[in-house]
């Protein structure tokens, strides 16, 4: 894991002191709310429906046990004893007081964390594959590039007042778990015919009101050119991105309006003008950072773990959980444990301070002191011996963390919705809870298999409904909440935007509608065919007929 040196420490301390003075001036009335707003936003502090919300950055989703314990401490001391893990691999606290915020930022700085640029029209926290460094299919760990980008984008003087927020995602594996095609910039590592590695640079993807799949502007950029090239992209966006309408201000609109070719030529022209051709410092910095991400000292183990197999035979619940919640590790005898933060009927992504501490303890004992937050709002223990999995499961079960629904119907992504958010038009959490309860029956959920259900409480799409295999969008129709259903979205390597199925449903009808869709799928699927594949084969028609025929 990356560790701060003296410079990183000083940087975060300077920033915290700066915020403390800004918050003081606001509390004394020397700054208007309008002037304070962009300053607090650049430190992750939102004003929500009921209170301030603080969003803390978890760079590329990686946490140490110590950091996770500090997050639990903050939840207890300054919030209501829990936190909410987000779709951008961050954590949010929903009940924060303005006068406590600088102290919280200090507590974060103590464990090498911050809330810089988790909001505002600037470059946000860089996200990546939650299995980075562990996945069997990975070409290289994308986190060194993530850290390089974190540093470069932190308080970038030129790019702190962009037309709109800016999100970058990085993946080092061919199976895209970081959704790089639906980010402002997506970076995908791949090998060319000669076996060398380079980065595909994808620009202008995004969700929100106008969902778009990004376009490739460079197919094979050498790693050491990333900073220079991204500077050129950012400058073109900063200069020419629209500022007249916040709903048309993301880079995807610029790329769409001037066209991918024109956009590309502007970027290339800007890149050609860069004053410094040498990238020696960037290369050395990347090497320095990469050393922190050296693979942990894994033992040489046999692929087969008799203890693990025996425990599965003796315990059907455990066996079922292992089938759904483990991921393929690159080393024999090891596995990736995915802890679902989606208990049946629970709030997606929420964890209590006690659960955070337990997960920290498990990571310390069994996973080289490392945890990950996934963009699907779950927690990952990346390097676990198969021999230890049963002990971990028992501890998780005792803490209400053993939901066996990872990647299944109950593993729902949902934004906070109208229960917390000032922008929402409908509630998301109760819908997620009703669907989760509907499929609490484990046999049914397993029969349905791999499925992504994503729920957003307004058209800003924080719950990524456009790329859910089943997407649910909450809207307001004359004071009544109703929900639109889309099918066929995906944020994986073959990314697609879901298609609206038909008229919306009232909140209490949504779970039944989802059940009808899934029953239809079960009837028409071919052996072994997952929901998304079946939908892509047959299209919307059978689902429409099943849903709307009766009416």
């Amino acid at each position: 894991m990356y560790r701060y040196d003296e410079f990183d420490h000083q940087f975060v301390r300077d920033r915290t002191n700066q915020f403390r003075s800004q918050a003081d001036r606001r509390l004394k009335g020397e700054l208007t709310e309008e002037e304070f707003r962009p300053l607090r936003l650049m430190n992750g502090l939102y004003l929500q429906l009921h209170a301030y919300m603080l969003r803390v950055a978890i760079p590329y989703g990686t946490l140490s046990s110590k950091q996770m314990r500090q997050l639990a401490f903050i939840a207890d001391k300054w919030d209501k004893g829990y936190g909410h893990f987000t779709t951008r691999q961050n954590i949010q606290y929903n009940w924060i007081k303005l006068e406590d915020t600088a102290d919280i930022l200090d507590a974060l700085a103590d464990v090498e964390m911050h809330a810089i640029q988790t909001s505002g029209n600037c470059i946000r926290n860089v996200t990546t594959d939650h299995w980075a460094g562990a996945a069997a299919d990975e070409i290289a760990d994308p986190r060194p590039v993530g850290e390089l980008l974190r540093q470069w984008s932190s308080l970038h003087p030129e790019f702190s007042f962009l037309p709109r927020k800016f999100k970058i995602a990085v993946t080092g594996a061919p199976n895209d778990r970081a959704a790089v095609k639906v980010h402002d910039i997506g970076l995908r590592l791949h090998r060319n015919a000669e076996g060398a590695i380079g980065w595909e640079v994808i620009v202008g993807g995004g969700l929100g009101r106008t969902p778009m799949i990004g376009v490739t502007v460079r197919n094979f950029l050498p790693e050491h050119e990333l900073i220079g090239y991204l500077e050129a992209i950012m400058r073109v966006y900063n200069l020419y991105g629209r500022r007249d309408n916040k709903y048309k201000a993301r880079i995807k609109i610029l790329v769409h309006e001037i066209g991918a070719d024109k956009f590309k030529s502007e970027v290339e022209a800007e890149y050609a003008r860069r004053p410094q051709a040498s990238t020696e410092v960037e290369q050395r910095e990347l090497q320095r950072i990469a050393a922190y991400f050296a693979a942990p000292q894994l033992e040489k183990l046999p692929r087969w773990s008799p203890g693990f197999e025996e425990a599965k035979l003796g315990n059907p619940s455990f066996s079922r959980w292992t089938k759904n919640n483990l991921g393929p590790h690159r080393a024999d005898g090891y596995t990736i444990v995915n802890i679902s933060l989606k208990p049946d009927g629970g709030i997606p992504g929420d964890a209590t301070s006690g659960q955070m501490r337990l997960m920290a303890d498990l990571a310390e004992r069994y996973s080289f002191d490392e945890l990950r937050v996934s963009h699907a709002q779950n927690i990952v223990l990346p390097h676990v011996k198969k021999d230890d999995v049963f002990a971990i499961w028992k501890a998780l079960e005792a803490a209400g963390l053993a939901a066996a629904n990872y990647g299944h119907a109950g593993d729902i992504i949902a934004c906070p919705g109208l229960d917390y958010c000032a922008l929402a038009t409908a509630r998301s959490i109760p819908i997620a809870q009703s669907i989760s309860r509907k499929f609490a029956d484990s046999a049914k959920q397993d029969e349905i298999g791999k499925l992504k259900i994503n729920i957003s409480g307004c058209i800003n799409a924080c719950g990524h409904h456009h790329v859910g295999h089943i997407g649910i969008l909450g809207l307001d129709k004359k004071g009544e909440e109703y929900y639109q259903i889309t099918l066929g979205g995906s944020s994986a390597e073959a990314a697609s935007i879901g298609t609206i199925l038909g008229p919306g449903f009232a909140g209490h009808e949504v779970a039944d509608a989802i059940e009808t869709i899934l029953d239809t799928y079960l009837k028409l699927r071919q052996p072994g065919e997952e929901f998304l594949a079946a939908y892509r084969r047959v299209g919307a028609k059978p689902f429409k007929e099943a849903l709307y025929a009766a009416a």
Binding site: D5, Q151, P157, F161, L162, R243, Q276, V281, E285, R288
Partner: protein, 175 residues
């Protein structure tokens, strides 16, 4: 209008002119459109020449005029309209070494960013005390990015970490 330079207040010595009409004697700042229209005449008159560029104008459009210009003004119509940061950086990277002035909605909380991209004078209005501006100029003691304008005691982190590597071609320093 108070003007901030090198962390102190300095008197305004430039005369601002409108799109047309008689040019006064002395050092004048003209709108970009007038510079294009009357270049012939402007380049020959005695006194220093400055231009005020819009933030939708392109920096490249100034390239041929740069050797003659001693002041370029860039506007911030709102503090959160960040286009002028990029234009400032482009002008400095094109080799412009004259005065670069930020006008419009210039606030203390953005002062250090403006210094870092190469602005050196600031139209600051009457609202904040000089002490507030002075403090605002050094809120951060270091920056990650390379090639920024900065104080001698303001560290550039990546360069500090790799002192033996090739330095930035031209290492600028603020004022």
């Amino acid at each position: 209008m108070p003007l901030l330079k090198n962390n102190t207040l300095v008197p305004e010595t430039w005369l601002h002119t409108s799109a047309d009409g008689e040019l006064p004697a002395g050092d004048v700042v003209v709108p970009f459109a007038r510079l294009l229209k009357e270049w012939e005449q402007l380049s020959k008159r005695p006194g220093k020449l400055g231009v005020s560029l819009g933030n939708v104008d392109r920096a490249e459009a100034l390239a041929m005029f740069l050797p003659k210009l001693q002041l370029i003004e860039l506007p911030f119509p709102a503090f959160n309209d960040g286009r002028a940061y990029s234009i400032a950086r482009q002008l400095r990277q094109m080799g412009y070494r004259g005065e670069l002035r930020a006008t419009g909605n210039v606030l203390p909380d953005q002062l250090q960013f403006m210094l870092q991209v190469g602005f050196d004078t600031f139209d600051i209005g009457e609202r904040f005390t000089l002490a507030t501006w002075q403090q605002a100029s050094k809120l951060m003691s270091l920056a990650y990015q390379r090639g920024l304008y900065r104080r001698n005691d303001e560290a550039e982190i990546w360069t500090e970490r790799h002192t033996d590597a090739e330095p930035w071609l031209e290492q600028p320093h603020a004022g």
